[in-house]
């Protein structure tokens, strides 16, 4: 258990009075809006919740864009693949057509002879 000296008590009394006076001065400055700070804090927290929700919504849109970019990459890959297959088939078709034409030509020449 500790005991304060009378000197300390006087000093504390003086500080207490000064602080009370300062509180009164500040109250006078703030006037009837004294309780607004608490309300302001609540407003900030509310605004933060709204910001979180809005940002989450934005995040969902961004994630959707990411997923679409992945889909585009897949479609591009498929497009390249299909184009390659078509070109290969066309080349084969052209070759067959050429052979057929040549065969028809040979047959026609033979028939003429």
């Amino acid at each position: 258990m500790s005991e304060s000296s009378p000197l300390d008590t006087d000093a504390q009394q003086r500080e207490l009075l000064a602080l009370r006076a300062e509180v009164e001065r500040l109250r006078a400055l703030v006037g009837p809006s004294e309780e607004s700070y608490g309300k302001l804090r609540l407003d900030v927290l509310g605004a933060r919740d709204v910001a979180i929700a809005a940002e989450a919504e934005l995040g969902r849109a961004r994630a959707r864009i990411s997923a679409l970019e992945t889909d585009v990459a897949r479609y591009r890959r498929d497009f390249v693949l299909i184009r390659r297959l078509v070109i290969r088939q066309m080349a084969r078709g052209t070759r067959v057509l050429g052979l057929a034409r040549r065969a028809v030509g040979v047959a026609a020449r033979t028939a003429r002879r």
Binding site: V44, A47, R48, A51, I52, E55, A56, L58, G59, R60, R62, A63, R64, S66, A67, E69, T70, A73, R74, R77, D78, V80, L81, R84
Partner: protein, 531 residues
């Protein structure tokens, strides 16, 4: 002379044309040294018997076993194992197809390494229209993932001797009997090998789990019990839970005596706006762990630049109290140095490296990470990190050309390909923004390399752990926000990039948890095309 492969196929009332295709897929194998064991579990459709007899008559390598009664898939499969004479058991369902080169690829892998006891391959699904869809390009051996999902599944090939040693299929796991067997075989296998080729085509039928595992709810529960039995066998004190999507599981480890965790946080006491409100990052990071988190045995080793302001230090002292160890750092910024310095002052049995710009989301995140980090062969454990907009910042690293975060900026609500974003699984590395490790492992690899002062220090660290033989595990059940790059310069220097490639070029192109069938330098699992 006994054949190399015994293909075991239990048969019960498949559509006859489908069964014929299954048998044909075996007969068309490019590798010929096999026997096919068709075990009819008293099919009620007489046409099935006809297909079996016709197949037996057409090829001497096909053997038919007729069961006297309908005993279910486990009994039928065990009859197949008893009748098998081959050195290797190949599991094939009565409605699925083997790729033509399946056995040849398996034989080649076996010839290359005589210590292999179990092999699995990539697989795809056969739609009712006959299209090959949903190719599953799997990771190499990933035991944590196997505890979360039967990812090995098809094609599974096991050494017969080992299958006999573990007692074949066990009763009570119908629907997940193969999952149970794979778990028991892999517990004792000397070497497990993944063949990154689609060697198995799983047919989607209305009654098959290929189309929806939900059609067999008993299989989900049997899977859960199989993992629980596995945990009990290997001495893992845990409870297994079924999760969404169906067919995925969580192994929740029990912590009887929670160890002291030293949370090492490098900081310079910076502030920034998050969700429209100014915050001092380090103070809010610590506050979230203490006020939202449920793990109590924590100390905070805050490695602070000497320029950190006094109000920040005072706020930190108020929040953390006597759990705070403040370590001053008076050198030019070097993330690795700060982490290493923090480790020196840490007294915990575990270290949690944490960036100061994080906020805890799941209250039991630390418990989850501790459970995993205490496994003897686990090097580091990473968490699921979200940006402030809820998109995915970190779901593990992938090093397939360049290091990147898996599904970076993707949806944190998506399951990912084959549920990979919902599962605890191995990955090649995890970010140091939230990384748990045992101090002796940290020391064994020499801590963080200080030559990487800003970037790639975690990549380098992960690869050092991998070279030392440790597993790195990522968990989706420890979630934190990471307001990344709000508090630091996100630019990458050319020197760091060059140094990383110089040091790790051989590892950066071969991530065992990715797959050669996926596009390199992508983080979103796009299949490679045009080969």
């Amino acid at each position: 002379m006994s054949p190399r492969f015994s293909i075991v196929t239990p048969v019960f009332d498949p559509p006859p044309d489908v069964l014929r295709q299954t048998i044909d897929s075996v007969r068309e194998q490019t590798f010929g040294d096999w026997e096919l064991l068709l075990i009819d579990d008293r099919s009620t459709d007489p046409r099935v018997r006809g297909v079996l007899e016709e197949s037996r008559a057409s090829d001497p390598r096909i053997r038919v076993v007729l069961r006297a009664d309908n005993g279910g898939i486990v009994s039928a499969s065990n009859d197949g194992l008893s009748a098998a004479t081959g050195e290797w058991i190949v599991l094939l369902d009565h409605d699925d197809l083997l790729a033509r080169r399946a056995l040849a690829s398996v034989a080649r892998a076996i010839d290359g390494d005589p210590t292999i006891d179990y092999l699995y391959s990539d697989e795809d699904q056969l739609s009712p229209q006959g299209d090959h869809i949903n190719a599953f390009y799997k990771p190499d051996w990933s035991p944590e993932r196997l505890r979360s999902q039967n990812y090995c599944c098809h094609l599974s090939v096991m050494r017969t001797e080992l299958v006999d040693a573990v007692g074949g299929f066990h009763d009570g796991f119908d629907g997940s009997q193969d999952y149970d067997l794979i778990l028991r075989v892999t517990e004792r296998a000397r070497r497990i090998h993944h063949i990154p080729e689609v060697l198995y085509h799983w047919r989607q039928l209305p009654t098959s789990t290929a189309s929806d595992i939900g059609v067999k709810p008993y299989a989900i529960e049997a899977g859960r019990r199989a993992i629980q039995a596995h945990c009990d066998r290997i001495g893992l004190d845990a409870t297994v839970e079924s999760k969404e999507p169906p067919g995925t599981y969580r192994v929740r480890r029990h912590l009887t005596d929670p160890p002291l965790v030293s949370v090492i946080i490098p900081t310079r006491g910076s502030s920034g706006r998050v969700w429209g409100v100014e915050r001092c990052f380090i103070v809010e990071a610590v506050r979230s762990l203490l006020e939202r988190g449920t793990y109590e045995n924590l100390e905070f080793v805050v490695v602070a630049d000497t320029s950190t302001s006094q109000p920040v230090v005072e706020a930190l002292r108020r929040v953390a109290g006597d759990r705070l160890r403040l370590v001053w750092f008076d050198r030019p910024f070097n993330f690795s140095e700060k982490i290493n310095l923090g480790r020196i002052h840490a007294s915990g049995e575990l270290l949690l490296l944490l960036n100061d710009d994080v906020e805890l989301v799941t209250p039991d995140a630390i418990e989850t990470m501790v459970g995993l980090a205490l496994d003897a062969d686990v090097g580091s454990v990473g968490a699921k990190l979200l940006f402030s907009d809820g998109t995915l910042q970190h779901a593990g690293h992938v090093y397939n050309g360049d290091p990147s975060h898996i599904f970076f900026k993707g949806s944190s609500e998506d399951h990912g390909p084959f549920s990979m974003l919902t599962l605890e699984r191995e990955c090649i590395g995890v970010t140091a923004a939230a990384l748990m490790i045992r101090p002796e492992v940290f020391d064994a690899v020499g801590g963080f390399s200080t030559v990487f002062d800003n970037n790639f220090n975690d990549v380098d660290f992960a690869l050092k752990l991998q070279e030392a033989g440790y597993r790195t595990v990522w968990t989706p059940f420890a979630v934190l926000y990471h307001f990344e790059s709000v508090s630091r310069d996100p630019s990458v220097s050319g020197d760091e990039y060059a140094l990383m490639h110089q040091r790790w070029a051989h590892r950066l192109a071969s991530d065992p948890y990715s797959n050669v069938n996926l596009e390199p330098k992508r983080h979103d699992w796009v299949e490679r095309g045009g080969r």
